[in-house]
């Protein structure tokens, strides 16, 4: 029986009407079919089957024994799976599939299906604790906040505000993330960061510098439209399992080509049509090698490049260097294979490129990302269904936390750190700019990027004069961030000991609590999980989902919003910080925080997603199409919206912009979620030729525009001045004009007020009224002249197994970046001179297991997950194992290239890794250099499974643009224990 796709469309709405809650009791036919695991879309074709055999059941729907259903979102990756919790008498008693979600349609991976255990909390931290002479003691919340606050003020007086580091979390809700950034601003420092630093900071920098915004361009669902899919440095089958539902369905329906380019034959590769094995850290040669074939054969999209891309000719020059022989010499990939990948990608479109940590976690992470973007631009594969840069992010809300400025380089929503940015947020917060300025040790540091989380240990340990602020770091305030996810753990251990104050606010104690020999000055504050709070999260596809509190925080744990409020109160700025946010008891209202974000979030289109709209989306999940993510136009509550109002969602909530499901898609009108590349890099650029002549080249779109645009060409970003020139300022209301003129400081001084700083939303509204995009219509950049390598250049890893290539492809020169020195060049040179590659002949790379997440403290404390992965291990090729007398499952010592680091773990002998390559999961901690640290955890709060951290072995290396670490390409040696 063949399936007709026309029928599939026709029956979808009928199905939606029968979703749980409305389906009455027992097994009706549709419920049965749906629960058989059939794709919702394909149901219709089963209509003719005899189904009279289904048993009639007596019990009603899911609401057994008076349980109520509450809806929240899984915290373990960025897919955004709906978690349906059955709650009875305030206890989370069961999980049901969230069938209505267009994102996961009931599905979970091991972590999502086990998430209830986190809130049972067998191993959770139960009450605040303090380390007293090496012993954990229970203390009250009041005492903890008082002592922590007093110590912070003491450090502030002695060493300055910059000596306190605020490390936030990708598991925060948007509201918590925003508040954490605001807290740091009120404290007076830009030393505030979170996990994005070590996962996709290079993606955000690379992508934003190419076409405007640092985010996934399309969505998981949209990959159903792709004909060719490349995964490079992404093992989605383990890291984002539910995404594979869309990808494998798309692969089946479109008979799509799926390439996995990796040093390791992953579980994702097992489902690919072709696997390409490369050497770790050679991503740029692979991409340039593909482009070499594409340019040589004329497979590029010439019209797209002409209209929408700046500087592609500069790329051609670099690509010419990467002929097939050189590519094979550096990467190991033969010409015929790479040519096949390149030809398929360029010709069998739509093509999408998916990447994760394998591309980003390198000293050249930003350049890797840029190279991939350029490949997409060259083949015209951005800005339409089935194409795009599909960047899978790692936590529930790492996209949102990045957007909301848990970042040493920016205030919330990418405004940056300049005076204009501070003034914008001062206006939103209704505080005096000079008050904020006065909070900093030095007004210059107010506009200077802080220290990235990858370098906190260096900023603590280096001589004071090497750190470009008043003093070293003296205190770490850590909310929901592992200690074992940052490279060079021997340095971490030393730095933890040197701190005067260490505060960990987390559901579990984490590695921070046990790694060092600290005896005092350490506090553990039990924060609750995201399931115990209300708030919004931004999934990888930029959709915001409002989760509701499933149960009240268990034991003595508290919502991070409350912890931050208590601290702000203690530190004396709660009144001004919470001026426009309602606080009940000590708990700030999540809704009010989101409304404040809306009031200031113009630059990224976080302005339209009011709590009311997001709640309506959560309630009406079933109405959104699984491929387009759009609700029917006539729906009374969410009509025409895209699921989760993916940002940018322009204008005020009242404007009802539907969100943007695919960025830069000119085939839709802006009011329907369309757009163009962002005119972010100026309107024109002066190019100097070799003979000294200067020509001005336009950076605006050339003869292309989004659907129905009244300006039929490129245009700059909208300001009040631009509106006046176009004569469109007459469309502003008096109230909007008054706000704009107040911001500008008078009617004749307001021409510079832009779409991103106009608090009325009027400029955005009027631009969209004329079907123009507020941020302007510009070209994407193949040449990003402000980056260290404007056109990406291959550079060998600091610790490369190919020292012979270092002379030709050296890392960048030493420099001071982010207040600390980056001496990568010196380290690389020393490694070559000392012959490190001979002593440590195996490549060490790291990655994720499906059962665990991040540093793993939370998931290793979950008994259902822990049972499935009980030992830390290293994958090693049978040939390498045989040479060393290593047997599968046997104990081995792995030694690292720095600090005489060593780690004891089990060997997994497998062809998954090639000869000369080893791989470790990065979720383990609790053993350090062979010593079990279980006794150092507070009693009863030790994770079920402990093991060595791979980051004990990882080494030096930092991306010059973002401070990204290098955990994916270093060297090690392995011997049988």
């Amino acid at each position: 029986m063949l399936i007709k796709r026309t029928e599939r469309q026709a029956r979808r709405s009928a199905l939606a009407a029968s979703l749980p809650g409305q389906s009455g009791s027992g097994f009706d036919r549709r419920t049965f079919l749906r629960r058989s695991g059939l794709a919702a879309g394909a149901l219709a074709t089963i209509g003719a089957l005899p189904l009279a055999t289904v048993r009639k059941a007596e019990a009603a729907g899911p609401n057994v024994a008076g349980a109520t259903i509450r809806k929240n979102f899984c915290t373990h990756c960025s897919v955004g799976c709906t978690v349906m919790a059955e709650v009875s008498n305030g206890v989370w008693v069961g999980q049901e599939p969230g069938w209505e979600s267009p994102i996961n349609r009931g599905s979970h991976c091991a972590k999502g299906a086990a998430t209830r255990e986190l809130v049972h909390g067998d191993r959770r931290l139960r009450y605040p604790m303090k380390l007293v002479n090496g012993q954990w003691q229970r203390i009250s919340w009041d005492a903890a906040i008082n002592e922590i606050g007093d110590k912070m003020m003491e450090i502030r007086a002695k060493s300055g505000a910059e000596s306190v580091y605020w490390l936030g979390s990708a598991k925060f809700t948007n509201e918590q993330a925003y508040l954490c950034r605001k807290l740091a601003a009120f404290w007076g420092t830009n030393n505030v960061d979170h996990q994005a630093r070590i996962c996709h900071s290079t993606t955000v920098a690379g992508v934003a510098n190419t076409w405007g915004y640092g985010a996934m361009t399309n969505s998981y669902n949209d990959i159903r439209n792709s004909k060719t899919i490349i995964f490079m440095g992404s093992n989605a089958a383990e890291a984002h399992p539910v995404s594979l539902q869309h990808i494998l369905t798309g692969k089946e329906i479109n008979r799509a080509n799926v390439f996995v380019i990796e040093p390791r034959m992953t579980r994702t590769a097992a489902h690919a049509t072709e696997y390409v094995r490369i050497r770790s850290g050679t991503d740029i040669p692979i991409i340039w090698g593909m482009l070499w074939h594409i340019f040589k054969n004329g497979w590029e999209d010439k019209e797209f490049i002409r209209q929408r891309v700046y500087g592609m000719d500069d790329v051609r020059k670099e690509v010419e260097k990467w002929d097939p022989a050189e590519v094979e010499r550096v990467t190991g990939v033969p010409e015929a294979q790479l040519k096949r990948v390149a030809e398929t990608f360029a010709k069998q479109k739509p093509s999408t490129f998916i990447w994760c940590m394998g591309a980003t976690q390198h000293t050249i992470g930003t350049a890797n990302v840029r190279a991939i973007c350029i490949l997409l631009l060259a083949t015209g594969s951005v800005g339409g269904p089935g194409s795009g840069a599909n960047i899978f992010r790692g936590h529930t809300n790492v996209q949102g936390a990045t957007d909301l400025g848990l970042d040493v380089t920016s205030l919330p929503l990418y405004y940056g750190l300049d005076a204009g940015a501070w003034n914008h947020w001062a206006r939103v917060w209704e505080v005096d700019y000079n008050y904020l300025k006065g909070r900093f040790d030095d007004p210059k540091l107010m506009e200077t990027s802080g220290i990235p989380s990858t370098r906190w240990h260096d900023a603590t340990l280096l001589p004071k004069d090497k750190v470009a602020q008043k003093d070293n770091l003296r205190a770490m305030f850590i909310m929901g961030h592992g200690g074992n996810t940052v490279t060079r753990m021997p340095e971490t251990a030393k730095a933890i000991e040197k701190l005067e104050l260490l505060v960990v606010a987390d559901p579990v104690p984490t590695t921070w609590a046990v790694l060092s020999e600290r005896k005092n000055g350490t506090y553990l504050l039990p924060a609750c999980t995201s399931y115990e709070v209300d708030g919004s999260r931004t999934a990888s596809n930029r959709s915001l989902q409002w989760g509701e509190q499933i149960v009240k925080p268990i034991f003595e744990s508290k919502n991070d919003l409350e912890i931050m409020y208590l601290l702000a109160k203690k530190l004396g700025f709660a009144d001004s910080m919470f001026k426009n946010i309602k606080v009940e008891g000590n708990l700030p209202s999540a809704e009010d925080v989101l409304r404040e974000i809306n009031r200031g979030g113009w630059s990224t289109g976080y302005c339209g997603q009011s709590p009311e709209r997001l709640k309506a989306h959560a309630k009406n999940q079933a109405k959104f199409d699984i491929v387009t993510l759009r609700a029917p136009a006539d729906d009374p509550e969410v009509g025409g919206d895209y699921y989760g109002l993916p940002w940018p969602c322009w204008g005020t909530p009242a404007m009802k912009h539907p969100g943007t499901p695919i960025l830069y898609n000119p085939s839709l009108a802006v009011k329907d979620g369309g757009g163009t590349f962002r005119a972010r890099f100026g309107n024109e650029r002066e190019e100097k030729a070799a003979d000294g002549t200067v020509t001005k080249v336009s950076l605006l779109g050339d003869g292309y525009y989004s659907k129905d645009s009244e300006i039929k060409d490129g245009y700059p970003q909208f300001t009040y001045g631009v509106l006046k020139k176009l004569g469109w300022d007459k469309d502003l209301t008096d109230a909007e004009r008054a706000v704009i003129e107040r911001i500008g400081g008078g009617p004749d001084k307001s021409d510079g007020v832009a779409w991103s700083t106009d608090l009325s939303g009027g400029i955005q509204r009027v631009a969209i009224l004329h079907n123009c995009i507020p941020y302007g219509n510009g070209k994407a950049r193949a040449n990003a002249w402000n980056l260290p390598d404007p056109v990406p250049v291959h550079r060998e890893p600091i610790y490369t197994p190919r020292p012979d290539l270092v002379a030709k492809y050296p890392t960048r020169p030493d420099a001071v970046q982010f207040r600390v020195p980056n001496i990568g060049f010196t380290v690389q040179k020393a490694a070559v001179d000392k012959g490190i590659a001979k002593q440590f002949p195996l490549i060490l790379t790291s990655g994720r297991l499906v059962e665990y997440e991040g540093g793993g403290e939370e998931t290793r404390s979950n008994k259902w997950l822990a049972e499935l992965q009980q030992d830390m291990f290293i994958e090693i090729n049978p040939a390498d194992a045989a040479e060393r007398g290593i047997t599968d499952g046997g104990w081995v010592w792995v030694t690292g290239a720095e600090d005489s680091a060593k780690a004891k773990m089990k060997a997994l002998v497998t062809e998954r890794v090639g000869k000369g390559v080893t791989w470790c999961p990065f979720h383990f901690a609790g053993w350090y250099q062979g010593v079990d640290q279980r006794a150092k955890y507070p009693k009863g709060a030790d994770p079920v499974v402990l093991g060595e951290s791979v980051n004990t072995l990882t080494t030096y290396g930092y991306d010059p643009v973002t401070g990204m670490q290098e955990p994916k390409a270093t060297l090690c040696q392995v011997r049988a224990a």
Partner: protein, 198 residues
């Protein structure tokens, strides 16, 4: 009446183990007992495939044939269940089962086995549907609530199917026809004496 079956589409299974933890979650299965597990063949090599395995609720179940105390019974939906009150923990069923489904908690010294435990197709046991006793001995009875086993309901890629054998066979056939490949309904010949012809 419907004939309930499991079917794992190995071309979709990514070994994410959602089925395993969903089972733990739904039935409060203790550490050490695995009613369901994912088996990977050719691990790390080209052609790697994974299959999610549990009790297949066989036609003419071999476990029932060897049980010395006759503790097995087949429900009207063809789900194979057993009574823990009758079970003596002898372990014969473990040797008879082609899928390794029976599990035994270790309850004493000298390797003595406790009462056998296995997948119930989320259909509980002999006690009254939805009763506390039933839940404590066998876990959830989703079938009585009009739901299917949670492992299949939560499968990340819709690889594991559970339900009326005819319906899931039809779903599988359509998938294979559409995508042009399929490695077969793993275990069906052994469990149900039939395969899915496409």
């Amino acid at each position: 009446m419907a004939r309930m079956k499991f079917l794992c589409d190995a071309d979709r299974c990514i070994e994410c183990n959602a089925c395993v933890t969903a089972c733990k979650n739904e039935n409060e299965v203790p550490w050490g007992i695995n009613r369901r597990r994912v088996v990977t063949l050719n691990d790390g090599k080209p052609g790697e495939r994974s299959v999610s395995m549990a009790c297949m609720h066989c036609t003419d179940a071999p476990c029932a044939a060897v049980c010395p105390v006759n503790c097995f019974y087949t429900t009207a939906d063809a789900v194979v269940l057993h009574s823990k009150d009758l079970c003596i923990g002898c372990g014969y069923c473990f040797y008879a089962c082609p899928f390794g489904a029976p599990q035994y908690p270790k309850v004493g010294n000298f390797g003595s086995r406790g009462k056998m435990d296995k997948c119930t197709f989320c259909a509980g046991g002999p006690e009254a549907d939805g009763s506390k006793e039933e839940f404590e001995k066998y876990g959830s009875n989703r079938l009585a609530e009009g739901k299917l086993p949670l492992c299949a309901e939560m499968c990340s890629t819709k690889s594991l199917l559970a339900g009326d054998g005819d319906v899931i066979a039809q779903i599988y056939k359509e998938r294979v026809t559409k995508r042009g490949y399929g490695s077969g309904a793993w275990g069906w010949q052994t469990a149900y004496r039939e395969s899915i012809a496409i």
